[in-house]
Amino acid sequence: MSIENLIDDFSFLDNWEDKYKYLIELGNQLPHFDDTQKIEQWKISGCQSQVWIIPHFSSSTLSFQGDSDAIIVRGIIAVVLEIFNDKSAQEILDIDVEEIFDKMGLREHITPNRRSGMLSMVDKIKFYARQSLEEKNEYSRVSS
C-alpha cells in the first residue's frame, strides 16, 4: 500500500470512529515485538504510552519496525512506517509528515504535544536518517 492510497482511504472516511477503526486495523497488521526488542535502546521517550522503533540501515535506504502498548498508537506507527520505510536518508529528512497527517484528517496526532508519541517517533526516525547521512559523509571523506 502506498502513502497516496492511505491518504485516499483516510480522507474517504468522514467520521472519527471509522478513521480510528481503520487505524486500529492497520495497527493490527504490525507484528508484535518480543521482549528482546522492547528494550530501552529502542524506546521513544514519551509519557503516555510505550513506543519502540528499531531502525535497519541498508546501503541506500532505511527501514523501521515499531510497536506500542496502545492500539491506536500502533495504528499511527503503521502509518508512520508506511511513510518512511524504504526511503533514502535524504528522502526521509525531506518528508513533511504534518502535511500528510493533515490530509488524512488525523491532525490531533501532530499537535506539538509530544507526549502523544507521534512527533517524537518522527524525530527519532529523522535522527537515524541524519545519523546515517553523517556516517556516509564521514566514510566518503575517509575513502577519498
Binding site: 472519527w16 470512529e17 480510528y20 477503526k21 486500529i24 509519557c47 503516555q48 504510552s49 510505550q50 502498548d69 496502545a70 492500539i71 491506536i72 498508537v73 490531533e108 507526549r115 502523544s116
Partner: protein
C-alpha cells in the same frame, strides 16, 4: 448553598464547544480553569495599574506595589498565616519545594539524617528531596499507604525515627486522592524535632488550609490549580525558620546593602524573591483566592463528598474498571484502568467526545509502577464540575470501552 451549576457560569471556557461537543473538563487536578474575575483582574492590572514594584516613587509603581503586597496579605489569609511576611511568592509549588530543599535542606541536612516521604509523592516533592539527599548524604525513607490508599498511622510512626530531620508529604495525593492527617503528622514530627513541609497542591483545591492549626513549618501550592494564573505559587514558611535560611537566588530586591566586596540580605519574604517578581500573576492569584474564599469550604466539601460518592459508584459500575484510591478520606481525583485497554487509547476516544482526562504516570511514576502499571487514566473534579459532567464522562467512557471491545 453551594451550586456548581451557578459556579460554572463564572468560567467562560466551560461553555465553549470542543470540536462541536460539550466541554467536559475532567482534568482540574492538572490545572484548573479560570474564573472571569481573574481575567478582569489581570486586564485591569495591565491596563491601568502596571509598573515594576518596590522601586519607583511614582503613582503607577505605588499602586502596583500596593496590589502586589495586598496579594501577599490575601494569600496569608487563604492559608491563615500569622503574618504576610511568612508568604513567599514563587513560580509554582515545584519552585517552593525546591526553594526549601536548596536553602533549609542543604543548610541543615547531614550524612545519616533522614527525610521522610510517603510513597505517593509527586515528582516535585520526591525528586527534589531525592537529589537533595544525594548532595547531603541524607537518606530518603518512605512510608507505605494501604492498598486503598489510606494513610496508615502505624506505617508513618514506624518510619519516623530520631534521624528524621524533615518530613515532606502531600496533604492530598494527586493519584489516589488520599487526604493525609496533616495536623497529627506535624505534631508527631515536631515531637522528635523534625520539620514538616506540606505539599498542598491538590489539597488547596478542595479543602481549607490552616497553617496555624496544622502547625506545619513549610507549605507550598501552585496558583494555576486553585483557579489562578500559571507562573505563580505560594510558599508559606514559619517566620523564625525563614529568618535563619540562606537566600535561594541572588539579585535585585533581595538585598539590604551591596558593596563591590560584600552583600547583606533583606529579611524574608524579600530575601527569597530575587529579581522582578511575577507581579501581575500574584495580583491575579489574589483575585482567584478571594473568589474561592467567598464560598464556604464546608459547603464545597459537602458537595464534593456527594459527587465523589456518585462518581465512584458510576465508575465501579463499568465492568473491567479498576479504581485506584478509595481511601475513606479522599478528594476528587479518580485514577483508573480498564482491563485490556490502554489509557491513552481511552483518552483519544474521550477527547473525541469532548471529555478531557489525563493519562500517564501523573508525575508519580514510582507509585503508578508500584500499582503495576506504566500508565493510568485519571479524571478529577473542580468546583465547577456538575453531576451532569460526571454522567457525560461516564457515557463517553462506556462508549470508548465498547469501541475497543468491539474492535478486539
Amino acid at each position: 448553598m453551594f451550586d456548581a451549576h451557578i459556579v460554572r457560569k463564572d468560567f467562560p471556557i466551560l461553555n465553549r464547544l470542543i470540536d462541536g461537543k460539550k466541554n467536559i473538563y475532567m482534568d482540574t487536578a492538572a490545572s484548573a480553569q479560570k474564573p472571569l474575575v481573574l481575567l478582569n483582574r489581570l486586564e485591569k492590572a495591565y491596563l491601568e495599574e502596571y509598573a515594576n514594584v518596590h522601586r519607583g516613587s511614582y503613582w503607577l509603581s505605588e499602586v502596583a506595589t500596593e496590589n502586589y503586597e495586598k496579594a501577599r496579605q490575601i494569600a496569608a489569609k487563604f492559608v491563615n498565616a500569622e503574618s504576610p511576611d511568612s508568604i513567599i511568592f514563587t513560580r509554582s509549588a515545584t519552585e517552593g519545594i525546591n526553594l526549601v530543599a536548596a536553602t533549609y535542606g542543604l543548610a541543615t541536612l547531614h550524612e545519616g539524617d533522614e527525610v521522610l516521604l510517603s510513597r505517593a509523592e509527586h515528582h516535585a516533592n520526591l525528586v527534589t528531596w531525592q537529589q537533595t539527599a544525594l548532595k547531603t548524604g541524607a537518606k530518603i525513607v518512605y512510608f507505605d499507604l494501604d492498598d486503598c490508599g489510606n494513610f496508615v498511622w502505624e506505617n508513618f510512626e514506624k518510619a519516623l525515627s530520631s534521624q528524621t530531620k524533615i518530613v515532606a508529604v502531600t496533604a492530598m495525593s494527586n493519584v489516589l486522592g488520599s487526604i493525609f492527617p496533616v495536623e497529627r503528622i506535624c505534631k508527631a514530627a515536631h515531637n522528635i524535632g523534625a520539620k514538616v513541609l506540606i505539599d498542598a497542591c491538590q489539597f488547596a483545591v478542595h479543602k481549607k488550609i490552616d497553617v496555624q492549626k496544622f502547625d506545619c513549618d513549610f507549605l507550598a501550592f501552585s496558583g494555576h490549580k486553585v483557579y489562578g494564573p500559571t507562573g505563580i505559587g505560594v510558599l508559606y514558611g514559619k517566620y523564625d525558620l525563614l529568618k535563619e535560611m540562606p537566600p535561594y537566588q541572588y539579585g535585585g530586591d533581595m538585598i539590604e546593602q551591596v558593596s563591590y566586596e560584600k552583600t547583606t540580605f533583606a529579611l524574608p519574604p524579600a530575601r527569597f524573591e530575587a529579581g522582578t517578581p511575577a507581579i501581575v500573576q500574584a495580583i491575579g492569584l489574589s483575585a482567584s483566592l478571594e473568589y474561592m474564599m467567598q464560598f464556604n469550604f464546608d459547603d464545597i466539601e459537602q458537595y464534593e463528598a456527594e459527587l465523589i460518592d456518585y462518581t465512584t459508584k458510576r465508575l465501579l459500575d463499568i465492568s473491567g474498571l479498576k479504581l485506584f484510591g478509595t481511601a475513606k478520606e479522599k478528594g476528587g481525583v479518580f485514577s483508573f484502568a480498564i482491563e485490556g485497554i490502554h489509557p491513552q487509547d481511552l483518552a483519544f476516544i474521550l477527547a473525541k467526545e469532548g471529555v478531557a482526562i489525563r493519562t500517564g504516570h501523573f508525575c508519580a511514576q514510582p507509585l503508578v509502577n508500584a500499582l503495576g502499571y506504566n500508565s493510568l487514566a485519571r479524571a478529577s473534579l473542580g468546583i465547577y464540575t456538575t453531576k451532569e459532567d460526571v454522567d457525560d464522562f461516564i457515557v463517553a467512557l462506556q462508549k470508548a470501552k465498547n469501541f475497543f471491545t468491539n474492535e478486539m
